[in-house]
């Protein structure tokens, strides 16, 4: 079965996010005064062939830990699409 799994990555709390800061200024310049903070990370969609949802989740978590996310500067979470693709 092929599962669709999302890996959501954000800068670690306490780590500066200059891209987010610049975007916040841009939003304020466009008149979006209500926006107070912007943090920019990555969203990665994986199609994973696995025997079970649990196996797909484990594979995604391992690939995030080993390649996709930087554990020093980023935090990640795994999101499984409920329906297998």
């Amino acid at each position: 079965m092929v599962y669709t799994v999302y890996i959501n990555i954000l800068p670690h709390p306490g780590i500066l996010d200059p891209q987010g800061k610049a975007t916040l200024s841009g939003l304020h310049n466009l008149g979006f005064a209500g926006v107070q903070e912007v943090r920019i990370g990555k969203r990665i969609r994986l199609n994973i062939s696995a025997a079970s949802v649990e196996e797909a989740r484990q594979l995604a978590e391992e690939s995030a830990r080993k390649l996709l996310a930087n554990p020093i500067t980023e935090v990640f979470s795994i999101e499984l699409e409920v329906q297998p693709a």
Copy 2:
């Protein structure tokens, strides 16, 4: 009230994603043979001060359309954290 809103951005279906392709090769080289496709986008977290959840969602959507996402090459979705921050 301050709401936490996520904007999830992925490359438009049909648009090539060279970064995703390179990452897929990297995963295969590391032994993650079960991964079949990788698409890489952005995840943006906004803290929005608004009078209601609906206002926060509308603000997020407008900021995505006007600044954060490129409507030609990307698709985005809005995700509201259920609890106001």
